[in-house]
């Protein structure tokens, strides 16, 4: 073996030395300032015209709990409808068929282009346009009986959500490499089967963060259904303060519940993300 050449002088061996910790004075000072400001805000609210006993009393009132249940039921159902519509519309949008493409684009245009609260009011007041609805000769009913606040809210929120979700889904499908479609075709899959088995599962990984966003938005958007008498959280809180005039206290109750629900949704989203990240981490398993 050839001997290594002698190393040059003047470069000491640092292998035994540790890296010193920096004091980070600025971080300490700024953190202290922020704590002070927060304390001042808390103090202001504690001394303000708020009867906190009302907040704690109504936080677990039956009507409020029913409201939060109705809010969650509506958010989950409307989101499910939105995702279903979103997937179908995204597939239509990416189809080679110009009719399907145009229908999909028109749907997105219409339901993204008008305010959600307006759409809710339109669904709820459908009876003004069509006094009776049904299938001619088979079944018919008075629209006021069919179009309950629940159904109007579900249709309004779900169909509107579908328009947004379709764009999220389309982005996810476009993010999957074209080679994946080709490989699926090469083993004899048709377009829809390739989408369902190969492309959508991979797109899910990309769309879950924006869908989580959309779902959080949906939980809060259900509060708009209060204008069409759907008994969700905000609507019930309003009904209470119409009776006892404790407006701010009940709004705080509602706000705390929304915050609590949304706080639980974030870890839930992380669980879903892990499920769909299969195979993407080198050390998975």
């Amino acid at each position: 073996m050839r001997p290594a050449p002698a190393l040059a002088e003047g470069f000491p061996d640092l292998s035994g030395m540790r890296i010193a910790r920096e004091p980070h004075w600025f971080r300490w000072i700024s953190a202290a300032l922020i704590v002070l400001v927060l304390a001042a805000i808390v103090r202001a609210f504690a001394n303000g015209q708020i009867e906190w006993s009302y907040v704690s009393r109504f936080l677990t009132a039956k009507v409020i709990l029913e409201g939060i249940v109705n809010t969650m039921v509506m958010a989950v159902l409307a989101m499910a409808l939105g995702i279903l519509l979103g997937i179908v519309v995204a597939i239509m949008r990416l189809s080679p068929n110009p009719v399907l493409k145009t229908v999909a684009a028109g749907y997105t245009w219409l339901f993204r282009g008008t305010p959600l609260i307006l759409q809710l009011l339109l669904w709820f007041n459908l009876a003004l346009v069509f006094p009776t609805i049904g299938i001619p000769g088979l079944w018919s009913a008075r629209a006021v009986d069919v179009m309950t606040p629940f159904l109007a809210a579900l249709l309004g929120l779900g169909i509107n959500q579908g328009a947004y979700t379709s764009e999220v889904m389309r982005a996810g499908m476009l993010s999957v490499d074209i080679g994946q479609y080709e490989a699926a075709q090469a083993i004899g899959m048709g377009r829809l089967r390739a989408l369902r088995r190969i492309v959508l599962p991979q797109a899910m990984r990309v769309v879950i963060p924006p869908l989580g966003n959309e779902f959080i938005g949906m939980v809060k958007a259900t509060s708009l259904a209060s204008v069409i008498q759907y008994p969700e959280l905000l609507h019930n809180a309003e009904n209470i303060y119409y009776a006892n005039s404790r407006v701010i206290e009940l709004l705080i109750v509602a706000g705390l519940w929304y915050l609590l629900v949304v706080s639980f949704l974030t870890p839930l989203q992380m669980l879903l993300e892990r499920r769909f990240a299969r195979g993407t981490l080198r050390l998975a398993r």
Partner: protein
């Protein structure tokens, strides 16, 4: 008299202004191993993609196992086949891609059984047994439960070969199967392909591995600018090329 497995007649294919294939005609015989060589853009990959209909030809015709691909003749006109028919025709060919294109959300075994289970609707236990045998054949028995991201490029390409073989194709198409691999991983993939050639599989291989072509190919086809310039036995085309363009290409490559 035997018939060619693939008969390509006067096939042209354009991408906008660019003529990818110009009036190409070629026969591939059962059991033959054919290597397609040529510079990039010469049309060899396009020809392969036309055979399994990932690209649609503009004119001419391709017959696979006696069946006209992609279109049906009726009343003196050609009618395009529906997606279902095209999928059925694709089952006769297996394709191996330059960039492997394994399904990243499925394990090696799941990649292999996906087609037989979902497309051919065969029984799971039978398909799994065959898939494990295929994995053994490509030397990856230990990797059945690994995801593609946990495999080296060479291992991924061998899984991709097994995935294509699982559909029991009559013809295997290889689109530059070793071009995306680190040099030390090329050998393991070529070894699997050699074994496959020995087993009597009909193969069309687009490749830059002239050593592989010399050793394994029954016929070498040299393409340039969308046309076949020269073809023949590997020793002739690679050892004693007649055309000037072939000579120029070979001297540039070697």
């Amino acid at each position: 008299m035997t018939k060619p497995l693939v008969a390509i007649r006067s096939v042209s294919k354009n991408f906008g202004e660019f003529q990818a294939l110009k009036n190409v005609s070629l026969d591939v015989w059962p059991g033959e191993v054919m290597c397609l060589i040529g510079a990039s853009g010469s049309g060899k990959t396009t020809l392969l993609r036309c055979i399994n209909q990932l690209a649609v030809i503009d004119s001419g015709g391709i017959w696979l196992d006696g069946e006209l691909l992609g279109v049906r003749e009726q009343g003196g006109r050609l009618h395009r086949l529906g997606e279902r028919e095209i999928s059925r025709q694709r089952l006769k060919t297996g394709m191996v891609f330059q960039r492997f294109n394994l399904f990243p959300h499925k394990t090696a075994l799941e990649n292999i059984i996906e087609g037989p289970l979902q497309v051919q609707g065969r029984k799971a236990d039978e398909v799994c047994a065959e898939a494990l045998e295929l994995l053994r054949r490509v030397g990856l028995s230990a990797k059945a439960d690994s995801y593609p991201a946990q495999l080296s490029g060479g291992q991924q390409q061998r899984v991709a070969i097994a995935r294509a073989l699982a559909m029991k194709p009559m013809l295997m198409l290889f689109d530059e199967p070793t071009s995306a691999l680190d040099p030390e991983l090329v050998g393991e993939v070529l070894a699997v392909m050699k074994e496959l050639a020995k087993s009597g599989m009909t193969m069309m291989v687009v490749t830059h591995e002239l050593g592989f072509a010399r050793e394994v190919a029954d016929r070498v086809v040299y393409m340039d600018q969308g046309a076949i310039v020269e073809q023949g036995r590997a020793s002739d085309v690679l050892g004693a090329p007649r055309e000037e363009r072939t000579k120029a290409f070979l001297s540039a490559v070697i």
